[in-house]
Symmetry: D2
Subunit: 337 residues, 4 copies
Amino acid sequence: MSEISIIGAGGFTGKELLGLLARHPKYKAVHVTSDKLAGKSLSEVFPDLVSPKDLIFKKHEDEVPKGSLVVLAVPNDASLELTPKFLDKGHKVIDLSGVYRLHNQEKFETNYKLKHTSFSLTDKAVFGIPEIFRDRLKGADFVSNPGCFSTSVILALYFLGNLRKEIKPRIVADCKSGISGAGGRVEDGGFSFNGVYENFRAYKILSHQHEPEIQEYCYAGSGLPEPEILFVPHLLPVYRGILSTIYLEANSENLPFLETLAENSKSEPFIRIRKTPEEIDLAKVQNTNFLDISLRQRGKNITIVSALDNLMKGAASQALQNINLMLNETETLGLLP
Amino acid sequence: MSEISIIGAGGFTGKELLGLLARHPKYKAVHVTSDKLAGKSLSEVFPDLVSPKDLIFKKHEDEVPKGSLVVLAVPNDASLELTPKFLDKGHKVIDLSGVYRLHNQEKFETNYKLKHTSFSLTDKAVFGIPEIFRDRLKGADFVSNPGCFSTSVILALYFLGNLRKEIKPRIVADCKSGISGAGGRVEDGGFSFNGVYENFRAYKILSHQHEPEIQEYCYAGSGLPEPEILFVPHLLPVYRGILSTIYLEANSENLPFLETLAENSKSEPFIRIRKTPEEIDLAKVQNTNFLDISLRQRGKNITIVSALDNLMKGAASQALQNINLMLNETETLGLLP
Amino acid sequence: MSEISIIGAGGFTGKELLGLLARHPKYKAVHVTSDKLAGKSLSEVFPDLVSPKDLIFKKHEDEVPKGSLVVLAVPNDASLELTPKFLDKGHKVIDLSGVYRLHNQEKFETNYKLKHTSFSLTDKAVFGIPEIFRDRLKGADFVSNPGCFSTSVILALYFLGNLRKEIKPRIVADCKSGISGAGGRVEDGGFSFNGVYENFRAYKILSHQHEPEIQEYCYAGSGLPEPEILFVPHLLPVYRGILSTIYLEANSENLPFLETLAENSKSEPFIRIRKTPEEIDLAKVQNTNFLDISLRQRGKNITIVSALDNLMKGAASQALQNINLMLNETETLGLLP
Amino acid sequence: MSEISIIGAGGFTGKELLGLLARHPKYKAVHVTSDKLAGKSLSEVFPDLVSPKDLIFKKHEDEVPKGSLVVLAVPNDASLELTPKFLDKGHKVIDLSGVYRLHNQEKFETNYKLKHTSFSLTDKAVFGIPEIFRDRLKGADFVSNPGCFSTSVILALYFLGNLRKEIKPRIVADCKSGISGAGGRVEDGGFSFNGVYENFRAYKILSHQHEPEIQEYCYAGSGLPEPEILFVPHLLPVYRGILSTIYLEANSENLPFLETLAENSKSEPFIRIRKTPEEIDLAKVQNTNFLDISLRQRGKNITIVSALDNLMKGAASQALQNINLMLNETETLGLLP
């Protein structure tokens, strides 16, 4: 059994990861932290989670078991402080914050409104989308897990492969997320019922910090310059799930977009290409590591729809997929039977 | 008191209109029909509606009170059959179906999958958006009430006025609607709880029948050729409300989009221009005749957000606004105190 | 036009009352207060409310227009402080807090965990259920509006009339309320989405402050000693509405319970007796001043189901019904067409 | 690996059981039927389920793999027809319908409005609540899995043990269920969004078919005559979970109810006694096999609150707990790590 430490285990993502680990054949959670919940037991905080061993929440700064792989599920500023420490102590680290994803320091600092204190580490971090960086993730010591919105958009574009050359570099990504993907924190109670129920709104319009991340990675491997991304997130009155509607304009008609998507992802265990985009909905991906993608083509216009569970393929289960690679285990272990 | 007959009063929109009429100082509903509900009383079917007089549902073909203004809230095929009859008998008619909105018969028949049997009537119908066609609506005998999605997009673009010349004629309209705007019928039970709750999806992607309507009217008065509209509706797990996110590209930067919106709509009683698009949400327009609009500008890109209540400004209260004009009453009567 | 001042107008109930007054033919809101919202305008705080005049929120202590009827929609401690002041200045007052409902000071102080500083006023307050105290409410200067749960249970029992002698004085009242009736405040954001959505729980089990109020008034006029009430409120993941399931045991079988309910309430404009309790649901009473009641009888057991809108018959519209009586207007004015 | 056949696998419960089996270390689903879904694959029907092998739905009458344990998740009439056939062929059978639970044929036929055609089988069926009938379930060939409401009430009373002698035999069980426990079927779309969302109601008041089942089993082992049960189910606008509020009257005050509950269930892996009934909610038991119980005592009155997931401890996971016993495996296998 490999040992896993989760720093910041009291949030939505920490909970999901604990649930996944409880059923994993080769890993076990051995250390969980939360400054707010320190002293409480796992079963007290998450009574609907069944864990092999009832761990007690520690403080972030408490000693972490030697040799354990460290998962950081803390806010950006906390990650800036903690990640270098754990790396220095020789832990394998996977960081779920946005701190080590962007390779442009200025863009990071502008978008995150945060001074970067360990920017050089970014070059050591592998961006944790296995479908793109599988080879580098195998055995990696430091992984930066991607954002939930980002994953849903980057992969939908990535699998277009060579056809990315044939689309205009101005891409609209209209994304809709349940409350657990929109920044509410479980420890704080998150969004008010009143503000979300029977309601809907856009937020951080053309100014969300995931936009440059989409921009940097969606054309990975294509040799193309980064496209312009127009990213608008919206808040759905649901608990979990992201559906992204992506608008592209091609240079010519009749290009084989759906076929290309299907061809480029055919060996991927967690990518499902649907025949029509109307088939895609949140219910089909909730509680799974799947990303569903399809599209509609009309003349030069292509509308892609993609969906994933923001807490799973958008966070915890993608982290587990990465951990499997980091520890040289089968990529699907604990995710597929 | 002017008398109003509602043909097809058993649906979502019929109910809303009955609620508005019950409080209206000058109109009263005198005749309500529903083939399914014939014989039942209004208070039995809508126990949460308080009506001055407890009407009994009649059949569609039953005799309509002479001189009453007729509201048609029936499916498209029923409107094709009934509208000419009521016009022939000399009733003022406002039709809420999509049958008399498009001036291109082929587009109508393709989009509605329906043979048009009285296309010449379209030229006699005034399209019922008062903010655009107020003068022609005053005293009009025949009005075609617009679609709910359409209203939210058309007006957001219409109020850009001359700036419409400065935008590229390829417009993305990513719209999200509660279930009452998405085709479910109250008489049939509509959507299943299971398919909608904790779920979200797009439907009729680039193939919704409201797309040509948006296209025909959004550039009204501009002298410009119709733009290309990329319209994708989505189904929200809420009861009422539409929020539309509209993506434009301008020919140059720094054009005064928000100021223009505000200037062009400044005398409109039901249009509210918000300072930022993040302020806009469904809760602020539900149960009102308001349409809220704002936008974010970044370089040449403009993202407009608009919101309305699909049953109100998107259907029943806009119909009442039109009826006020048709009957030469104050436009806001029964809608504003 | 009679003038109405609302102290504490920024909450759920204040908003509802403002909506009712905006459409009332004889009253107008002239003064609204909220310590938190002072300085903001009504249309800014409640953009979905349409008011004849856009009032600005004042502080609680600001001068109230002379001669205006004062509605207090403030917490219990604030009411203790403010009510005597407004009465002293000669205003008619209707208080929506729980402070002047109970005639047993000890019970009040125990249940409300609050020292009563003006208990003698309780004797001057008329308890605001028109169906019971109509005669005393006419022209009254001081009314204590009842609780929302209380109204749903008290009236269901009150209309049993003489049959109350035939039931065992141990009554179970299992009540379920939407979040607006369960203590969340709109100004504070109220309950978290996370804690309410896809969830359900009981609270203040056998210890809710409305229990003694039900006990004191449910046998009004019967000459019987107060029964034992076992009151358990529950929190529904809905916005508005209360449904109460009340369990009685009769002394003998075959007593005419439903007939008696119907007979005793037959002239009441806002009480609707349904043939079967399965017909009763929240949707039928939401946004209305109706209280729906029915029951099932099996041997000596009677299960009553009643439903109302906690913000309407449970608060704002019942207050308006009372105000109509206090001002010697028609009781249904502004509530029925 | 033991092989499991699921007859009627297309419903809510079938889906849950398939999810549990996919992760079970010793069982695998080998045969799934649904007359409606025959020919479709599991991954097509339940895209959010991850199965080791993508089974194809068969017809109910198709040949079942020899030696497989048969789970019947079909309506009552189908169970009446199919159960005897599978038993005759030598399969171990666990039936999830209500057909073999009641030992009084007349009560069955009255409550289920169904003629019983194989009543003698009832004596061979072990009632599938392991906490009560563990010994008889070990190695059993035929198990009748209990109802979801029933489980939540029976166990709450059962664990009172000897104190059941001290309570009056008239028990109110006011139960609230999410839509998946209230009879909606996933194949049919179930309840309409419109009828459930922002709504709440009681149904089958004092006439639900689970009432006699509660009555027969809640006093199991006590030697006491069956008590009178007043059972009223309600429909919550949530997907899953049942919370039951149970009202008892004791013969005397100060009896140790909570302590007795705790003592009698202390070795049970799936029963959690909470210190206060306010701690209990649906979220804590959803997706688990736990039943949470607590109570409030006031004088002679006791109000018990219990909660479970109707699809899990109320159906599929309790079935798996029973299957573990039938196959002489560890009772918690596949349910606890």
